[in-house]
Each structure stands twice: as structure tokens, then as C-alpha cells.
């Protein structure tokens, strides 16, 4: 009995290993090779040198990191209280479903919906003008870009935090209160540290994709926000310089790996996240 079970596990691991090799390791290797293979010059580090000595690309990198950071902070500020509220509600599953629901809709559709909401004759402007504020420019502003990006990333932050909060033994906050801690102290000293794994996972699942957003920067930001995602899109689709596009891709992957390394729990006992 035990033997067949072991064999089953081995077979499964084998299949999964092959999958990883074909669809994760191989593409990454190809990307790396592509980035080193400069057209007409053969293998060289030229692309990397160009990247790190070019003002515009460094500016874009700083932009990408700065906006990804802002999006993450905004999402976290909204998600944490929301997750706490969710754990206290009666029909948790139902409310949770409402949070997850937007992820069932295609990203592009949601973004287009925001064009309708934020536009000149859009719902938000109509509401503002009916309250006597007059029309204001909402689309193509940094604020609008941050709003839409945070809205799209929200479920990916709420879920891990919610799960981490549910895992906290309810006796611990109760004990904290019994021992005379105020609810703020309980939050700060008991709940926040215990929910840290969820927060870290949430930060990873939001920060990393935010680094390479590109559709929203154009549709909502009107290309007033330029990130590395924009540059990659351009190199692959317009100039067809796949080699340089890959270089930017590799730089982004390294940035992501760094983020993971900084936010991953060393003791790693639980595994949770988007996948």
C-alpha cells in the first residue's frame, strides 16, 4: 500500500518536473540567451551595458519601481481593514465571493469600463457636476492610473491577508484583551505580526505584476506614466528588437527575484498565494 502511494508521488513529481522544465525553466533560459544574442554581433553583454548606461531606461526603471510601490501601498491600505472586516462578518463566503468576482472579468474589459466611468461625460463627472463641482479631468492623470491599478490588484492582496487572519487562534486576541491591552495594541502587537505571512504574500502578488503593467498605463494613464512594460511591448511589437526586449525582461525578473527574497518568510511553514 505504502509502496504504491510512494510510486504515485514519484510519478506525479516526475510529470510536474517535466512541466516545470518545459514551461518555466526553458522559456527563462531562452529569454536569457535572447538577451545576450545581439543581432549582427553574436553573444555579448552589449544590451546590458546599453540598458544601464541609458538615461531613459534607468528613468523608466525608477518609474516602474516607484509606481509599483505606490500601487502596493494603496492596495495594502485598503485591503487590510477590508480583510479584518471580512473575517468578522456573518456570511463570510458570500462577501469574499464579491471581492473575488471582479477577477472573473477580463482585465481589458475592466479597464475599458473605467474609461466610461472616468471620462469627461462619465458617471463620476456627472455626479460631481450635479453636486456643483463642475467637470474635472480624471482620465490621463496619475491618480486615475493608481486607482485603476489598485482596483485590479485588490483581490490578490485581500485573499492572502484574509486567510492569514482566519488562521489566527481567536483565543489569542481574547487573551490579549483580558490582559488589558487596548484594541489598537491588540491589533499592533498580536494580529498584525501574526498576519504577516499573508501580508508578505499579498505584497509579492501585487508588487511583482505591477512592475510590468503596460495596458493601463496607456489606456488610463494616456502614456503619461511610462514603465518598463511599455518598453518591452515596444521592443517586441514595434521595433522587433527582441534581443533588447529580452534584456529588459531579464532585468525585471531579477528585480522580482529580489522582491521575493526580501519578502519571503525564512521559516516558510505555510504556502499560500495566487497559484
Amino acid at each position: 500500500m505504502n509502496k504504491t502511494k510512494k510510486r504515485f508521488t514519484e510519478a506525479y513529481l516526475g510529470i510536474y518536473g517535466l512541466w516545470l522544465l518545459a514551461f518555466v525553466v526553458a522559456p527563462l533560459l531562452l529569454l536569457l540567451i535572447q538577451s545576450l544574442n545581439v543581432p549582427g554581433k553574436g553573444f555579448s553583454l552589449e544590451n546590458y551595458r546599453d540598458f544601464f548606461t541609458s538615461g531613459p531606461y534607468l528613468a523608466m526603471t525608477v518609474n516602474s519601481i516607484w509606481y509599483a510601490f505606490l500601487i502596493t501601498v494603496i492596495t495594502l491600505a485598503i485591503s487590510y481593514p477590508l480583510a479584518i472586516c471580512l473575517t468578522k462578518l456573518k456570511h463570510r463566503q458570500f462577501w469574499l465571493l464579491l471581492v473575488i468576482l471582479p477577477t472573473w472579468i477580463n482585465l481589458l474589459l475592466k479597464t475599458y469600463a473605467f474609461i466610461g466611468l472616468l471620462g469627461k461625460g462619465g458617471l463620476l463627472n456627472q455626479a460631481l457636476s450635479s453636486m456643483g463641482f463642475g467637470h474635472s479631468q480624471l482620465l490621463f492623470t496619475n491618480g486615475a492610473f493608481l486607482l485603476v491599478a489598485a482596483y485590479i490588484e485588490l483581490p490578490f492582496m485581500v485573499l492572502p491577508i484574509y486567510n492569514a487572519l482566519l488562521d489566527i487562534d481567536p483565543l489569542l486576541p481574547a487573551a490579549s484583551r483580558d490582559l488589558g491591552a487596548s484594541s489598537f495594541d491588540t491589533l499592533k502587537k498580536v494580529i498584525w505580526p501574526l498576519s504577516m505571512p499573508g501580508v508578505k504574500t499579498g505584497v509579492q502578488t501585487v508588487f511583482i505584476p505591477s512592475l510590468s503593467l503596460f495596458m493601463i498605463t496607456r489606456l488610463i494613464g494616456g502614456n503619461k506614466v511610462i514603465t518598463l512594460g511599455t518598453a518591452i511591448e515596444e521592443h517586441f511589437l514595434v521595433t522587433q528588437n527582441w534581443s533588447f526586449g529580452s534584456t529588459i525582461g531579464v532585468v525585471l525578473i531579477i528585480a522580482m527575484a529580489l522582491t521575493m527574497a526580501l519578502t519571503t518568510d525564512k521559516k516558510k511553514t505555510r504556502k499560500r498565494g495566487r497559484k
Binding site: 531613459p56 518609474n63 496619475n142 502614456n223 511589437l237 521595433t239
Partner: protein, 360 residues
Amino acid sequence: MKKLLMTFLAVCCLILALLGLDFALTASRAQPSSQKGQTLTFYNWGDYIDPSILSDFEKETGYKVNYQTFDSNEAMYTKIQQGGTNYDLAVPSDYMVAKMKKAGLLAKLDKSKLTGMDNLNKQFLNQSFDRGNQYSVPYFWGTLGILYNTKRVKGSDLTSWSSLWSDRYKNRLLLVDSARDILGMTLLSQGKSVNDQNKADLAAAQGKLSSLMPNVKAIVGDELKIYMAQGEGDLAVTYSGEAKNAIEKNSDLAYTVPEDGSNLWLDNLVIPKSAEHKQAAYALINYLNRPDVAAKNAKYIGYATANQAAYQQLPKSIQNDKAFYPKQAILDKLQVYQNFNSYWTQAYNDAFLEFKLGKS
């Protein structure tokens, strides 16, 4: 464990069922075609032919048309270059014809199999990208120009590209997100060519372009027409085809080509070298060259047709529309894009990227 296994099995069953359904559906669709002559794979831009023309063509000739679409010349190029699907007829723009020709992706046209070439307007034949039309047959053409809202902008103020730099358009202008077009129109405003390959000229154009920044509200892609129709911008630099779509949605909009000239773009029918049903492809080219068919197509698409005989059959209101069929004096000043090598493609795009970055 058992539960997990059950879920896993259920997912597998679902996948199998869907695959089976997909197979059954494709089989039922493919069957009639295999009995009745060949299937021609037509690779075209989205919504770039009157669908009834395709069904008429199928009825008349017995060929089946498998219509597939792309959204950029570069995407189409990559797909055809990588093989996989054998496309029998494709519709690249001017500079892309040159690029595909150079890469050996196009089949030379057998002129004896083509009919209706006399119907085409001489103006659009024998262009620099394909001398003697050895590989391509013009389909539709258009220009780069200015789309504006007649309620807020006077058309008579837009006689030259330089007028876009005027203070009165502060934060009101939308630009199409394309390096070649935006730098091209800047070069034109400086009296240079859209195909300029001179570092100093490009640097000067980039300098002038950066001073346009205060007027630019956003740099967007295909969604430009939606934004203009919604009144999000008061004027925009875009293509005549996109302008046409926007005007259909909002009748306050109008389109004009500045008098200092502009880019002329031409979309062309070509047969890729890898085509398997060349006979059918020739049949479709000839069918589309027929004046009545081309006129019907032009009415549906709304772009300017390269078929002179079809143009004669169009209603007077379309024929006299100077925005889309400009007068000869402007036609003479239009320039077709030449295919740049990778160095110049990169140079234009880098200049444009720096311009966009200057914004934030």
C-alpha cells in the same frame, strides 16, 4: 487525498469533453469545404472587408474562405515568418511589403493570372516599396491627418502641422502612439521628409516635438477614436481610417490633411510564398478588383479605395469628400513610408520614447 483525486479526475473529464466538443464543431464546419473545392486562408486586418463579399465569392467560385485577422503589421509578419499556418492571402501595409519582400516571404505575382488591374488608380501603382507591382496589389489607402471637434476647434486653423504647436491647444491634443507617425509629422512641419535618415534632422525633430508636450493630453493607441468620439480630446493626430470610425460615432468630428503634406499609407494584397492555394488566392484578388465588388467594399469599410473604376461608382457625397479623397495638390505632396533598417527603426523609437518620458 481521495477528494483531491476526484477533483483532478473531474477536471480531466471536463477537458476531454471540451476537446471532443471542439473537435466535433470544427469537423462539422470543415466538412462541406473539403467536398467543394479548396479552403483559402485570408489573413487580413480585423473588420477590413464587407463579410457579404466573402460569402458571395464562396457562392460564385466554390472556394471556401477561412478569414483570420491580425492587429498590426509586425504581428502578421511574425506569424507568416514563423510558419505553422499557411496563409494564402495577406494584407500588409506599404513598408511591410518591402520588408516581407526582402525577407523572401512573398511569392511573385503571375501577371497573366491577374485581371482587373486596369481598374486600379495609377497613382497607387508602381510605388517605391514594390516597383512594377511584382508582389502586391493595392487594396485601400489613406493618410495621416488631424481629427478635430468642429465645436471647439476651427478647421481653418489647421492648415499646417505647425499649427498644432499653438498655445491655444494647451492640454487638448491626443496623439497616436506611433513613433514613425508622430516624428514623421514633426519632420514634415520642419519641411523635411517622413523618410529622413539624418541624425541632425532627427535630433532637431525630437527637440521640436518635446516643445509640443504642454499641448499633449495623452498618447494612445486604437482607443483614440473612442476618446475623440467621447469628447475627451479636442483634436488628435491619427490615420484617416481611424478618423472615419470616430466621425461615424460623433458627427461633430471632422478630419483634415495639413497642406504641408503627409504620409500616404497603402494596404496591399499579397500572396505569401508559403501559400498552398495560390489558385484560390488569385481568384479572390481578381474578385476584389472587380469595380462593383470594390465599390461595395469601399462603402462598407469607408476607407479610400485604390480602385479608380470603383471610385466612379461611389455616391457623389463620398467622391467629393475632400477629407478622404484629397485634391490632387495634396495628393502630390503625400509620401509613402520607406522600410527602415533596424538602426533607424530603433533611432525613431528611442527618440519617441524619450519624448514620452519627458512627460512625467
